[in-house]
Amino acid sequence: MWIDLVILFTKAFVLINAVLILTSFLTWMERKQSAVMQDRLGANRAPIFGVRAFGLPHILADALKMFFKEDYVPPGGDKLLHTVAPLAAVFFALMSFAAIPFGDAIRVGSREIKLQVLELDVGLLFVFAMMSMGIYGTFLAGFSSNNKFAFLGGLRASSQMISYEITMGATLVGLLMIFKTLDLNQIVREQGQLLWGWLPSWGIILQPFGFLLFLTAGFAETKRVPFDLPEGESEIIGYFVEYSSMKFGAFFMVDFVETILIAALTATLFLGGWQMPYLYGDGFHFPWGTTHSLSSASVTILQVASFGIKVLFVCWLMLLIRWTLPRFRYDQLMRLGWKILLPLSVANIFLTGFFLILLQSR
């Protein structure tokens, strides 16, 4: 009983810290990557004792700056809700990670420990539930600021998130039809099989179309540049215009946490999660016959590392897109969501069903 609790808390602690460290790392990555793409040097002005370390100390400097700023609640705003909003945003964004498996089950003595904080039959739905609750962060921020621009920003944000959430759910139905489960760990396990003896049956191979649709919809969920109408850092004003200090920092963070969440979901659903091609519980079994046995500990490390690399890769891809595309107009955004992505994902469902029946009848 106690040992279970200890294991659970350790897993949650490690996972949350990994996510938060990756978040702060992403702020640096975004600056550096944009600098590289725009032929600049990027952040390098926060040296510690002359050590620039590629601008990495900026992460620390930013956090310190945020904490020392004045925390301002607009007069006429709702103080309680103004405080709750960023907390809710961060809380629900971090909660979503609980259902994501980051490795296969490991055995310690007679105990089997699953590398997943929350083992749920409906893991995917849990993530979606937490995401849909995340709307309240932006919504309350816009509402409680007592500012028309923040209010409109909040409305934009919540309608965008609701619209794209529906699309996002629809894009995944095809994948669920193939894997026949909502359990994220089970989905990853299924992706360990091989097609025709050599091709790993990752989601991206079974559902290439669904992958593109999901990534697009996921992008809209993170509220970042091609879809950044809710906040509009450069011209229009967003829902957290009345926020300062670490409360603003929380919203700033949530953007990156959501990026990581979409990256982790993409990796789990479409890129095989913690699976590595040809890696099984006892080592590599290559399709050309050679085997290379490994201890179970190194297999676990390889699995977790493979998941981490996939997440980093998708994060990189998302940053790349973020610095490449210009922003949509709001009507274009809604048209894309409802008139293009949703019908396409419904078509994807029908196509998948068609092929499934075709394969079954053979």
Partner: protein, 166 residues
């Protein structure tokens, strides 16, 4: 068991607050908390699918629309009951008392010893997604489809009401 009491207390307190709050916006927020606590209770009853859908559909989608409407109509007013509407309050009290009186015989005839103390007595896996899917799409397929037609009718009606020119 501790979790049950915790979630139950939260749900009840939130539900009371839904009625007691003066500001409509806060009432709606407490309703969200109440729905989330109920979802936790479903989880304890080993019905994870229902729990997740409860949060996604009710707390995550429908309540957002509620809040939209409240916000766009009348965000900051702490609606005091105007003298004209005072009789509505009395009517509410009367109706509540009547309901309570009607409930009394049921509460009295309620046999506590027959209440199952845990969920192991229930058919295993009732709340599991696969089981629910099979029930809906095999046993109750026709009612399910008829319901969807009903929703379609509602959608068409909303479109016609919402748009003057189609």
């Amino acid at each position: 068991m501790m979790l049950f009491y915790l979630l139950g207390t939260i749900a009840l307190a939130a539900a009371v607050n839904v009625v007691a709050q003066r500001r409509v916006f806060y009432s709606a927020l407490f309703l969200i908390i109440c729905l989330c606590a109920l979802s936790g209770l479903y989880m304890l009853l080993q019905a994870p699918f229902i729990a997740a859908v409860q949060v996604i559909v009710y707390a995550g989608a429908i309540m957002v629309l509620f809040l939209f409407v409240i916000m766009l109509l009348d965000p900051f007013s702490a609606v005091p009951l105007s003298e004209k509407k005072r009789y509505l309050g009395y009517l509410g009290i009367a109706m509540g008392t009547a309901t309570l009186v009607l409930l009394v015989p049921f509460l009295l005839s309620y046999d506590l010893s027959r209440v199952p103390r845990n969920v192991t007595g229930m058919a295993a896996g009732t709340g599991i997604t696969r089981r629910i899917g099979e029930t809906i799409f095999k046993e109750y397929l026709l009612p399910f489809e008829v319901t969807s037609v009903l929703i379609l009718v509602a959608i068409i009606g909303a479109v016609i009401l919402g748009k003057k020119k189609i």
